[in-house]
Each structure stands twice: as structure tokens, then as C-alpha cells.
Assembly symmetry: C2
Homo-oligomer: 407 residues x 2
């Protein structure tokens, strides 16, 4: 075989290796989805436990902590499978940094739980700690989606990331709403924040529905209980549509249970997404392997001078090795180019999130804000101007040039 | 040490491994630069040899072929250093495919030379074969630039790619001009094509000067002989500025020699670029290694509970491991994010070339054109409409939606 052919085969082997890495990434993302769900429940139960001064959900909370620990072990096992020794993991620098942040957060989790159990934290403080940890886990999923090199898999990961992020906004809405009802009233700022959580969910689910395959969307549709959704909307309207004012404190628990049913239904969709991702990777790997086999057989036959007397017209290669190899090279280049183009298109949606991150960084550097303050400032601007977060972020970034310089 | 810290260190090790890969890529790019230069000379000599019916440059051509073979061996040695067995080479699928195309072209080189020696090819055919081979080599450089993960190195590679591409347009101009003078006249289409070669060079050198560091630009400026440039401009004007018509055939050789002096001066700049790239990689690797050492020492000290009583305020870490580690994590995240943003900005210029490639692919698919025909069609549109190639490409792409579909 010529050296050109061996590079052609090596290129295909790289594609297979990338797909195998993606299959492993898919398992990591699946484990993160289960763990995030457990943490969201723990956050909700802790919330009610704290706001009821320890009188409610004490036992359920303890049970949920046990569930959480189990899900955490699975995520840790997936982290351990990441090949930190090789230094050749795709997007390794960013991915490992995100994992380090998560592990650091996990190390602090036992202490957080002790303080919740001892009621040494406010509801707001406990919620913020869980929100941070979950954001760290979602950032790992984001890096995984951003490093995928296969457009179909990347598409599935983008759908998954957005669904998980949307579900997290739903979780935050559950906690926020439960708190507002329990407090017996809501002010204008509270209403705005609630509406913002609803809008954020919708934006995420919109991207999800653009990127998820029809088989996933069908499950998502089937899982939507119209009665449940109507009830959620009714309670949202009760709290947000009218003037700020009193709310019936007795509605805190019904709201919490309603939201929980909705979020649990989302969890089922996540499982389908994870399964779909796994099947997709398996199918793409099988396909790439079979193409590699064909390619290798053809190159060997060509190298040994064998003709294909009975080959069908479409696959018939003439006696000229030179011409056939050229055809294979051109086909491969065209295919890789088409994949690259499609990948660029899929990734464009990830750039919206990057713009928000970048704007946050800018505010942190130039206004000496913490990450949390920067995010809140952006969100406040978005709410006040009634614009999407990404649009506000881009407006902030366009101001970067007039801000005092700092490299 | 905590597992969080070990991921933090692993992230840094990934960065170092990426930089080491880039250093090797730099050597490959350097070898390609030398080989392309040798091929450009061989193309020029073969051109004159063929157009003089074998009466001129026969000996120089034979000598140049020997030089070319040597430069080719160095490129092949660099290709052999690529780790095709690991399947984990960054951007491996695309890079290896480009290499396969080049190796295929190199396999055909002896036959091409035999046919030139036997004068079985027209000047145009021989030129086209060399242009294709050089385009394949430059595509390898492009993939190398596109896969760089360090913004500074990426910047240097973008400068280098554009310089090499500009020099190749200068080489094509040399051949085209020599042919036009030798033919004793030029028509309107010929003048347009010549002007287009000049514009293409300028566009490349413009990008180069935006991305090259001041030390490289200084050498580039110093290497520009004003008398030589003025003479090049005078001869260009003679051929292109007036009405189409007769040219003095005796000017073919002076034009050829003048262009050769200009192109040889460019070769010297390429060497400086390659050297700069090597130094840059070495400096970045040394810096990353030293930061890794510091980070590891600090984490170990923190883990063993040691304080830094004499540390300076800026680097002082309090007694709380928890807080210090968090600071390191945040610093690393911020740094990686800034690098990612800068990298995106550098890569944007590479997307212009991708647009041209994509438009070519579109024409090939929908108009059943060969790659060469598609490129010529785009160039013709650019010339006729007096627009940049990338603008024409983007116009073609925006028509994609109304063209009959084909996935």
C-alpha cells in the first residue's frame, strides 16, 4: 500500500477514535443528568425544610441525601474514567478545569448538608450553593458539547445541554415560587425574576426542539400532561400577571408538588436523550468501522493489482490505482468538509452562551464584580430592558472597546 | 492532594501537550515552506524549459529537481513523525486526509518530471500540476493553523499561512508574466488574470501584516528592496495598465529574474517566521511548565497544611485550603476563557478561506464542475464584478438555499 493510502486509513481511524471518545462522553453526560436531578430534589427539599424551620421534609431530605450520594458516586466513577494521564484528551484543558471546579464543589457538599441539617443557613444561601454546584456540572456538559467533532453527535449534545439547562431553570422556578407563596406575597422585582426564569426555560427548550431528533421530540410531546401544564400556567398567572401583592401561603405546597411532577416528567425525556445519544454513537462507530473495512479492502485490492470485474457500475474501479485512490481522497475531503461546515452551524448556538460568559468576565474585570454579581447585573439589565440575556451580553461586549483597557 | 487539584494539574498538562504538538507542527510547516519554495523554482524553470522548446534552463532544471528531492525527503520525514498510530492526534482526520492528498501528488511527481523532460506536456499543463501539488501542501499548513489551541501560536500560524499563500500567488504571477512576455502579447482576459494575481497577493500580505509580530514585520520591511519593487511595478504596468496588445518578448527573461529575486527575498522572511514560531512555542512551553511546577508546589504545601508566612501579599494564600484552591480554579477558568475568546477572533480570518472552499464545493455538487473549474468560475466572477474572492464566495453560498437540494 502507498503511504498516501495509509494516511487515508489513519484519518478514518482518527474519526473512529473521536466517536469512541464521544460515546464515553455520552455516558458521563447521562450520569451528570441523573446527579443533577437528585441535587435539584435535594435543593427543593432543603428549601422547604429550612423555610419551615425544620418542621417539614426532614425525613424525605435525609432519604434524598442518600440517593444523591449514589448518583454522585456514578459521576465520580465517570470522572475517573477520563484519561487524565494521557494529556491528549480532546479539549482536555477546559474539560479538566471544569471537572476540577465540580470536584471542589463536591468536597464542600457534606459540610453544606451539615449546615442545612443544623439550620445554620438561610434558604437563599442554601439555594445559591446548590445552584453553583449544578452550574458547574452543566458547564462540564457544555464543554463536552463544544468539543464534539461529529456534527450529528454535536447536535444531540447541544439538544441535551439545552434541555438540562432548561430543566435547571424549571428547578429554580420551583424553589423561587415555593418561597414566594410561602412568604405570602410577591413584589414587582420578584415578579420580574419569576418571569425571567420562565423566559429562560422557554429559550432553552426552543433550542432543544430545534436540535433534538423527531424520536426524542415525540417522547417529549407525549410526556407533556396538558392538565398539569395548564395548572402550572394558572399558578404562574396568579403570582405574576396581576399587581404585586399578597399570595395564599397555602399554595406553596401545591406549587411545589406541581413543579416536581413537571420536572420529574422532564427527567424521563433526559433518559430518552441519553439513550438516543448512545445509539447514535454506536451507529456512527459501526458505520465508520464498516467504511474503514471497505476502504482498506479496496486499497489492498488496488495495490495488488486486482480488478473488480463483477463490481457494480457505481463502485467499479478501473484498473488504474492512481485514479481510484484519487477518487477516494476527493470523496473523503468532500465528506470531511461537509461535516466541518455542519459542525460550525451547530456550534453557532453554543456561541450565544459563550457571549454571556464573556460579558460576565468583562464585568468582573472592569467593575470588580464577583461572578455571581456579574450574572445578576446582566440578568437585571435583560429584565429591565425586556431583552434576551444574549442580546444584553452582546451589547456589553460591544462596549468593551471603550472600557479602560486591561489585557 | 484532593481529586480536584489533580484535575487542575491534568488540565495544565493538557495545555503543555498541546503546545508540544504545536512545536512539532511548526517544524512540519517550516519543512513545507522550504519544499514549496523548491517546487516553485522547479515550476518556473520547467515553464521556461517547455516554452523555449527545451533550449533553455535544461541544466538548471535538472539541478533544481535534485534540490527538490532533498526538500521532499524532509517533508516526508516530518509526515512520518506524525503519530498515525495513536488516533488521538488533534484534528487528525482532516490533517491526515490532507497529507494523504499530498503524498498521492508526490507519488506522481517523478512521472510529471519525465513528461516535462520529454516535452510531452504544454506549459499550462505542467504549471497546473505544480499548482495543484503546492495547493495540497498549503492545505496541510491551513489545517495546522486551524487546529492550534493557543491563540499566540495560532496567530503566528495564520501569519505564516497567509505569507506562504501570498508567495505562491507571486510565484504564479512570475510564471504567468513570463509566459505573457514570451508570447509577445496579452489580451484583456490575460490582463485581468494578472491583476487578479496581484490583488490576491496583496490580500494575503495584508492578513500577514495584521497577524505577524513586530520582529517579523521589521525583517519583512528590511528585506524589501525599493528599487526591485519599483521595477516589478514598472513591468506590471507595462503589461497590464495600457490597452491589450503587443509585449516585448525579450522582457520575458528580465521579468522572470526580477520576480525570482523578489520571491527569494520572501523565502528569507519565511525562515524568520519559522524561527519566530519555534521560539514562541519554546517560550510558551517553558512558561506553562514553570506555572505547573508552581501550582503543584502550592497545592502540595496547602495539602500538607503549610502556610506561606513570608509570601508577598499578591501571592499570599491564607490558611484555608478551600479558599486558595477556589482562587486557583477561578484564575484558571478565567485564563482558559480569555484564551478561547482570543482564539475565536484569530480563527475568524481562517473562515474566509473556508467560505471559498465551501462555495467551490457547492459549485462542484450543483454544477457538476471539477474543483479546478469551480475555482476558476469563482475567480472569473470576482474579476468581472471587481470584488474580493471571499465576497463572491459568500454571495454564492447565500444562493445555496434556492439551488436544488442535495445533502
Amino acid at each position: 500500500m502507498t503511504s498516501g493510502s495509509s494516511f487515508l486509513l489513519a484519518a478514518r481511524q482518527c474519526e473512529i477514535a473521536e466517536l469512541e471518545d464521544l460515546a464515553q462522553t455520552g455516558e458521563l453526560v447521562g450520569a451528570i443528568g441523573r446527579f443533577v436531578h437528585a441535587l435539584q430534589r435535594e435543593r427543593g427539599l432543603s428549601n422547604v425544610f429550612l423555610s419551615s424551620h425544620g418542621s417539614r421534609f426532614g425525613e424525605q431530605r435525609a432519604q434524598q441525601v442518600a440517593d444523591c450520594r449514589q448518583a454522585e458516586q456514578q459521576v465520580r466513577a465517570q470522572f475517573d474514567r477520563l484519561d487524565t494521564a494521557s494529556s491528549r484528551v480532546r479539549n482536555g484543558a477546559r474539560l479538566f478545569s471544569r471537572v476540577a471546579v465540580v470536584l471542589h464543589g463536591l468536597d464542600g457538599l457534606p459540610q453544606l448538608r451539615d449546615r442545612v441539617a443544623a439550620r445554620q443557613l438561610t434558604t437563599r444561601e442554601a439555594t445559591a450553593a446548590f445552584v453553583r454546584l449544578i452550574a458547574g456540572l452543566l458547564a462540564v456538559v457544555f464543554e463536552a458539547a463544544d468539543s464534539a467533532t461529529d456534527p450529528e453527535v454535536s447536535r444531540a449534545l447541544v439538544a441535551m445541554f439545552n434541555f438540562m439547562q432548561g430543566k435547571e431553570f424549571a428547578g429554580q422556578e420551583r424553589a423561587f415560587g415555593a418561597g414566594a407563596f410561602a412568604a405570602g406575597g410577591i413584589d414587582g422585582a420578584g415578579q420580574q425574576q419569576w418571569r425571567h426564569l420562565v423566559d429562560s426555560q422557554q429559550a432553552c427548550f426552543q433550542v432543544f426542539s430545534e436540535f433534538a431528533g423527531p424520536e426524542v421530540l415525540r417522547v417529549d410531546q407525549a410526556g407533556r400532561d396538558a392538565t398539569l401544564l395548564a395548572e402550572v400556567e394558572r399558578m404562574r398567572r396568579m403570582a405574576c400577571a396581576g399587581r404585586p401583592g399578597a399570595l395564599d401561603a397555602n399554595l406553596s405546597q401545591p406549587w411545589y408538588e406541581l413543579s416536581t411532577r413537571r420536572i420529574d416528567a422532564m427527567r424521563a425525556v433526559e433518559d430518552v436523550l441519553a439513550l438516543h445519544l448512545r445509539h447514535l454513537c454506536e451507529a456512527r462507530i459501526a458505520q465508520a468501522r464498516s467504511e474503514l473495512r471497505d476502504q482498506r479492502a479496496m486499497l489492498q485490492a488496488l495495490a495488488s493489482g486486482a480488478a473488480y470485474p463483477e463490481a457494480e457500475p457505481a463502485t467499479a474501479y478501473g484498473p488504474h490505482l492512481e485514479r481510484s485512490l484519487l477518487g477516494m481522497l476527493q470523496e473523503q475531503s468532500r465528506r470531511l468538509q461537509a461535516m466541518g461546515d455542519e459542525l460550525d452551524a451547530v456550534r453557532a448556538t453554543l456561541n450565544e452562551r459563550k457571549a454571556v460568559e464573556r460579558a460576565k468576565g468583562l464585568l468582573m474585570a472592569h467593575r470588580q464584580m464577583s461572578e455571581d454579581e456579574a450574572y445578576k447585573a446582566l440578568r437585571r439589565m435583560a429584565m429591565n430592558q425586556n431583552r434576551r440575556l444574549v442580546d444584553v451580553a452582546e451589547a456589553v461586549l460591544s462596549l468593551a472597546e471603550v472600557l479602560p483597557g486591561r489585557r
